[in-house]
């Protein structure tokens, strides 16, 4: 989930830039998406009505009851949206911190090979240690509210930032480095005019991954650290305890949509910025 993606590829921009052909083409493009959604709902209904016996049907109420019941009930929806807003704030703050820390960490590692040898293992440990193992410590140190939630978020989102940025900083060719050496570039010039610009596409790849993970981090953080107003992860826990299946399934859906929206925003941003970076201005 946090692999370093190399970007040798230049996906043919034409595919995205083709002039809009009529409604027919739009339909053809939307058909698979709509088809999958219909299939998913059909499977859901099948499980509810055909697989589950009547007295266990409460475990998976049919979609129209889940969404119809919750979306039309402001008493449920209002707190859910507020909670989602709080989780969003946590995810955003966590992401910003992860981005700044991750880039700084990678820059330091890129400048001195001994720094990389010393620091990289810690980045890997941060990635491999189960967040569950850290939860008690975070709670003790940072309390059980906003700060702790952000900390979880940062820990989860940090590694892809570090790994991708470092990969990018090291991606400039040996010849390009020779060019800078021959022109007597300072370390700072080399960083700012070669390594950092070369890393921009990788940094955006890292940003895309980190953004998706920061959402997960925020929800996990909410789930564990329940002091103060609840985030959507906190509500998940409440609904689970009360066995409010409709509300639970709706909030799961919302968290999924939340993640998709954040990921999409950064994917679009990525394409736009990186495309421009290499001089194919998408119009």
């Amino acid at each position: 989930m946090t692999t370093v993606e190399s970007r040798v590829e230049t996906p043919a921009p034409q595919a995205a830039e083709q002039p809009r052909a009529g409604a027919g083409a739009l339909l053809r493009r939307a058909a698979p998406i709509v088809g999958a959604l219909v299939g998913f709902l059909a499977a859901w209904y099948a499980v509810t009505y055909l697989v589950l016996p009547a007295r266990q049907r409460f475990l998976l109420p049919p979609p129209h009851e889940v969404y119809g019941g919750v979306f039309s009930n402001p008493q449920l929806m209002a707190p859910m949206m507020e909670a989602l807003g709080r989780s969003f704030a946590v995810a955003l703050v966590g992401l910003v911190i992860a981005v700044v820390l991750g880039i700084a960490y990678a820059v330091v590692m890129s400048q001195w090979s001994w720094a990389e040898k010393i620091l990289y293992p810690y980045a890997v440990i941060l990635q491999t240690i189960p967040i569950l193992a850290l939860v008690p410590l975070i709670g003790i140190w940072l309390g059980y509210s906003f700060l702790a939630r952000v900390a979880v978020c940062v820990i989860i989102a940090l590694f892809p930032m570090i790994a991708n940025t470092l990969f990018g900083l090291q991606s400039a060719s040996a010849a390009a480095h020779d060019l800078f050496t021959l022109n007597k570039a300072t370390r700072w010039q080399r960083l700012m005019k070669l390594q950092f610009p070369a890393a921009v596409p990788s940094i955006f790849t890292g940003l895309r991954n980190a953004a998706g993970l920061s959402v997960i981090g925020a929800i996990v953080g909410d789930y564990f650290f329940q002091q103060g107003a609840p985030g959507i992860g906190g509500l998940l826990r409440v609904y689970t305890q009360r066995l409010q299946m409709e509300a639970l399934l709706t909030s799961v859906t919302l968290t999924a949509l939340f993640g998709v929206v954040i990921f999409t925003i950064f994917a679009v941003l990525d394409r736009a910025v990186v495309g421009r970076w290499y001089g194919r201005v998408a119009r």
């Binding site: 021959l182 022109n183 007597k184 921009v200 290499y278 001089g279």
Partner: protein, 250 residues
């Protein structure tokens, strides 16, 4: 040869240079050569014979294990095997880079970059990014970047090796024109015998690893050399001699 170095002023002089890498590989043994102002010297040799190492030594990117490397040039330029352009910079900004790194004021370096692009026939392409340019044009940008420093010594590391045949011949003509106009001393590495003869005032032939210079063949013709020169019997005779020298020692 050593006495000659003492007597004449050379832009580049290597004497008894040996290069052994930490891995134990000996890339060059006892290489001596000198290049005077206005000379354009090409080096041919089998791949892996240490040709590139020779250039890296001349440019100061590597230091010799033994022997001496003397450069008396105000500015030295290096043209890489690949165009080695920064993909995120336009053609103009790629050429400007050299001035940027050396602290030349913006207006001046921009003007000189424009002039250099003009010299390589790329006026009108200043704002294109490398990905929007063909292989030949990318190499022209690379040449412009080398020329913008107004070098006394220009080092070329098989710059046309990756180009198609037609573009390659065009670039040879271009380079000759630029060389005549700019009057730097050139050291040009290639694995093409015809390219070596067509471009140079003197061809040095290197042996397989560890690299040594095994033959030195002067090329008599004045510049500019018409492209048709390649089809004359005299040209064929000279390339034959270079090939024979290569064959004996590879």
């Amino acid at each position: 040869m050593t006495t000659e170095i003492a007597e004449r002023t050379h832009t580049l002089a290597l004497a008894g240079v040996t290069k052994r890498f930490p891995t134990g590989t000996v890339a060059l043994t006892d290489v001596s050569l000198s290049i005077s102002p206005g000379e354009f010297v090409t080096v041919v040799g089998p791949s892996g014979c240490g040709k590139s190492t020779l250039l890296r030594l001349a440019s100061g990117l590597e230091t010799a294990t033994s022997g001496t490397v003397e450069v008396s040039a105000r500015a030295t330029s290096y043209v890489f095997q690949d165009a080695t352009l920064l993909e995120w910079r336009t053609a103009l900004r790629n050429v400007e880079l050299v001035g940027e790194l050396r602290g030349v004021p913006r207006e001046e370096r921009r003007e000189r970059a424009r002039a250099a692009l003009d010299l390589v026939g790329l006026s009108g392409f200043e704002r294109q990014h490398p990905r929007q340019l063909s292989g030949g044009m990318r190499m022209r940008v690379s040449l412009a970047r080398a020329l913008v420093a107004e070098p006394d010594l220009a080092l070329f590391d098989e710059p046309f090796g990756a180009l198609d045949e037609i573009t390659r011949l065009q670039m040879q003509t271009e380079l000759q024109r630029i060389f005549r106009q700019e009057r730097f001393a050139g050291l040009f590495i290639t694995h093409s015998v015809s390219e070596a003869v067509y471009l140079s005032t003197r061809v040095l032939v290197m042996s397989g690893r560890p690299g040594r210079i095994v033959a030195e063949i002067p090329v008599p013709w004045d510049y500019p050399r018409p492209p048709e020169l390649r089809h004359t019997p005299e040209f064929g005779e000279l390339t034959g001699r270079v090939s024979a020298a290569l064959g004996e020692h590879s």
